[in-house]
Symmetry: D2
Subunit: 331 residues, 4 copies
Amino acid sequence: MQRFALLGAGFIGSVHAASLAANPDVDFALVYDVDQGRAKALADAHGTRPAADLAEAFDRDAVDAVFIASSTNTHAENLRRAADAGVAALCEKPIDLDLGHAVEVVRYATDRSARAMVNFNRRFDRDYAELKRVVDAGEVGDVELVQLTTRGPQMPPLAYIAVSGGQMRDQTVHFFDLARWISGLDPVEVFAAGATLAEPRLADYGDVDTSVVTLRLPGGALVQIDSARRTGYGYDERIEVLGSAGMVEARRQRAGAVTRYHAGRVVDDGLHAGWFERVRPTYAAALDAFVTALDTGVSPSPSLEDGLRAQAIAEAATRSLASGRTERIEY
Amino acid sequence: MQRFALLGAGFIGSVHAASLAANPDVDFALVYDVDQGRAKALADAHGTRPAADLAEAFDRDAVDAVFIASSTNTHAENLRRAADAGVAALCEKPIDLDLGHAVEVVRYATDRSARAMVNFNRRFDRDYAELKRVVDAGEVGDVELVQLTTRGPQMPPLAYIAVSGGQMRDQTVHFFDLARWISGLDPVEVFAAGATLAEPRLADYGDVDTSVVTLRLPGGALVQIDSARRTGYGYDERIEVLGSAGMVEARRQRAGAVTRYHAGRVVDDGLHAGWFERVRPTYAAALDAFVTALDTGVSPSPSLEDGLRAQAIAEAATRSLASGRTERIEY
Amino acid sequence: MQRFALLGAGFIGSVHAASLAANPDVDFALVYDVDQGRAKALADAHGTRPAADLAEAFDRDAVDAVFIASSTNTHAENLRRAADAGVAALCEKPIDLDLGHAVEVVRYATDRSARAMVNFNRRFDRDYAELKRVVDAGEVGDVELVQLTTRGPQMPPLAYIAVSGGQMRDQTVHFFDLARWISGLDPVEVFAAGATLAEPRLADYGDVDTSVVTLRLPGGALVQIDSARRTGYGYDERIEVLGSAGMVEARRQRAGAVTRYHAGRVVDDGLHAGWFERVRPTYAAALDAFVTALDTGVSPSPSLEDGLRAQAIAEAATRSLASGRTERIEY
Amino acid sequence: MQRFALLGAGFIGSVHAASLAANPDVDFALVYDVDQGRAKALADAHGTRPAADLAEAFDRDAVDAVFIASSTNTHAENLRRAADAGVAALCEKPIDLDLGHAVEVVRYATDRSARAMVNFNRRFDRDYAELKRVVDAGEVGDVELVQLTTRGPQMPPLAYIAVSGGQMRDQTVHFFDLARWISGLDPVEVFAAGATLAEPRLADYGDVDTSVVTLRLPGGALVQIDSARRTGYGYDERIEVLGSAGMVEARRQRAGAVTRYHAGRVVDDGLHAGWFERVRPTYAAALDAFVTALDTGVSPSPSLEDGLRAQAIAEAATRSLASGRTERIEY
């Protein structure tokens, strides 16, 4: 039984609170939030209690692990505290929007043998896990071309965009991680092209809402990622992997399995309305994997290093958007 | 090269004319129709010529085979002539609407070793043939439950209904044949329930437009067939076969493979608008099979006997509709 | 907040315990089981406590509702107790395997204005609920033909079969209920044909493992239900409703959305391995609906009367299996 | 009725011969091939006759149009002859592998008001035509991102590769045309990345077998094209268009509609084995369109200019493969 403190009681914190409460191998001990009322309300809803202060959440006598779901700019500091306290950490991405700073804190944590996992929850999607299994089993041969699609239903608010780090660091980064994870390789170079088609004001932020990324893997295999902020038709993710001996695809998921037949057309249920409906089951699965790693003493995965590498790709992709050139990826 | 005379230059005759013209192993020699102008027009369109009279179409020196696509009430007589002349015959179903009469002419033809095939064209559908192959290969084990759906887009005219013999003999009969062919068994009893939901005036003809048939096969396996005259959503056929080791399905065919994604719904291309769009390729394939049988000296299949057996099931099903009871099928 | 006592701590009881524990509008007060150790273990797992005896579970001061998940032969008696105590009841089906007895207890409960719901959980399946919505909205016009498929992955043990009441009362009954619910009509007559193809020893129990049922609805519309105990390919349910203006289908659900492309074949994820994986989300949804009904003071649905009517169809279907004839359904 | 001479009696010539023979608005007058025996054999098979020499095929008194299906290096010269003779021309792509030469001959033909069409047959694919209709009707709003996939089942022989002009000019060029046609826009710049994964010896030819292309359209919309020479799973084409108001996709086509259900997996029919099976119906449709244009006096489309523009994109893409940089497209 792992005793958890949850840091952050906002939307994503409340999602993790439900996972912590439902997980039979977790003792959901504490909730911390800078807004104490919010912490208390969330704790009450799940039969646990708010932490008196941040220090209590890192008290090694009462807590085995923290779930870092606080605001992005506190991730690094909380990771550092966890490393200091000898408390394990499951950390929302990114480690820090500033890659240099992120590298530093990861080095700090690693030097202290911190047990930590970055929450790239899509790795725990049922379909992506099966696709990975198929690839690893060699069922499609050597990976030659990977295609990933990530498209959100509508533009986030500009206030969100302003602090997001841009499409590559905020949205596409999950798929940089998936590309690495599925292929088992670190891309060596990246070309990105983007446009502001859904929201022209993004140009003021040096950001794009629609983009196409090409990655080259060691050995020459290629990866394509298209990202869009606003689809008009719901939340859309898909992955396909072309290999030397076949192809495997994690299809667009539909919200249901009802089909209506009318003259000249067949109408199926649409995609999920938003990202949360689509990926909801991955959160509990990611937590499960983290707890299992702690219970069994293996290193949690994806590691902090995995978090850094996805960020490194996002950095190079962001540079490419600006330069219009292929950029080397530095890890 | 088989020399063919086509009997009948109506709609279905014109379909067969195109198949005869396109088949590289066929010499399309003659067209006969009681309406000589119609025969001439169809012959001209395909670079062949009209027969002077019916006798010419059965002239063994000039013709190897006839394609009987004349009106239903002439099928039996034309089969008899073919048997007399030693000309092979590919005959549209039914052999005769009167089963007794049909039995007689088949016996006549068989006594004369006539080479003849009844044109149950659905057996030559690409998907049904594959489904049959899967079943025969034992991939689903022993057949336990067969489900067939046959639904037309709209009510035929009442004038057609009046001479059609009713839904069982006219529409469902194709699926009685498919059930026999797929299972390799002759059903022993039948229960049918029907209703006049699409066109109440069918009741005046003792006919139904919507029906459900249950067949029992020797050994106990069951067959379900639902037939409807008017769907509102296009032409709909499907078959599934549940066996002891799996299931195989020939799915509803779509007219195309375009998908439109909108908020909350996904819109695919609909089913085919009518039966002809759906089964069109089967006609050429059926002709091919007949020609190949003639070329290689094997018995054409489906045989006239197959035609009789499907009709015998239709007779019993028609009786069951009236009696409300399970009826034995007499072959 | 409704205070619940759970009756029964077996497999299905443990499923309901999880739903009770997770439901924010439920106070999960007590667990009762004839096996006190089992009750305690389940209570402990969900932070609640075992009842000292059955009487405590019906104590109106401590309990608002009971969830009857005890063995089938105790359902009726527990419903009676709930009616006596003024405690609401959510009752697993069937009310009683003996229809006469079931009618009696429902009359008893109704006379006492008991608030009760029979747990036909499939009505709360996301896809079936959507299909029902489409039908009710008139999107397919008048219902003309309903097709339902219910197929389990493997034969239950013979010991289970012996006390199950047979395929109609045990398996198909859920789909009798769905047919009533979807069409809004009570079938007037039934024809059933069955066979023992998967397990010949079923014949010793007067039971079948594969069957086809035809129901006639008032007005003439038809319903087809095929039931199989053992598929070899997983758990299979589907429903389609043909109406005068279109068709709607709740498709076979797949366990995932991964597709593998190889030469000559495309391999998708299979169906769910068992019934529980397939219908799992319906249990929480059914409980939700019951709690909402209690909270808002509306009559819970499906009602005990709905339970009786589905059973009445199952009785007539069972008679038809034996008689080989169409049977009237008596409500 | 348009009188046609067919130039070229090789594989693709024989495909076009069948279309010419079957088209009711075509008088299939002549076949020319440098190999006179091959011309005669093909003519005989379709009831037409071989041309005595090339001049006869351009005799304006006997011929209204030529179908240029001769070897690639003769296309330009035959187009020039057609322009001189006042004979219409349907010309296989490319006009000439050398873009400069192609531009010259198109200018020559245009100056003489030649009626000519370049045979980008995929525009006449049923699904692509419907996708285009959906886009043009505004059903997905403004085009923002187009994704095209073109993958062949196996490596062509190296001898073919050597004279093909490379993947961009030989394979991807069809999809450059489709991208222009669907979006209605001429791409302004291109980035291409490629690799030799299926056949390392391609490197000797400066060619690639696997590639990813990004095009930027005026206004900023993006196009992704992935091309592969060898899939291992059949012939694979698909297109999707993301717009501001939805998305439309022409899905991977399957060779049939049969599904097999087994424990844990569902097996559908695979993709088509080769390109010809997949695109076969487009040839007759393209011919139809050409004939209709001639009959009605409208300009045939796709025009020679369309042919040049697709080639211009292929040129720039080929340069990008070598330079590793984004290249401007010069028309």
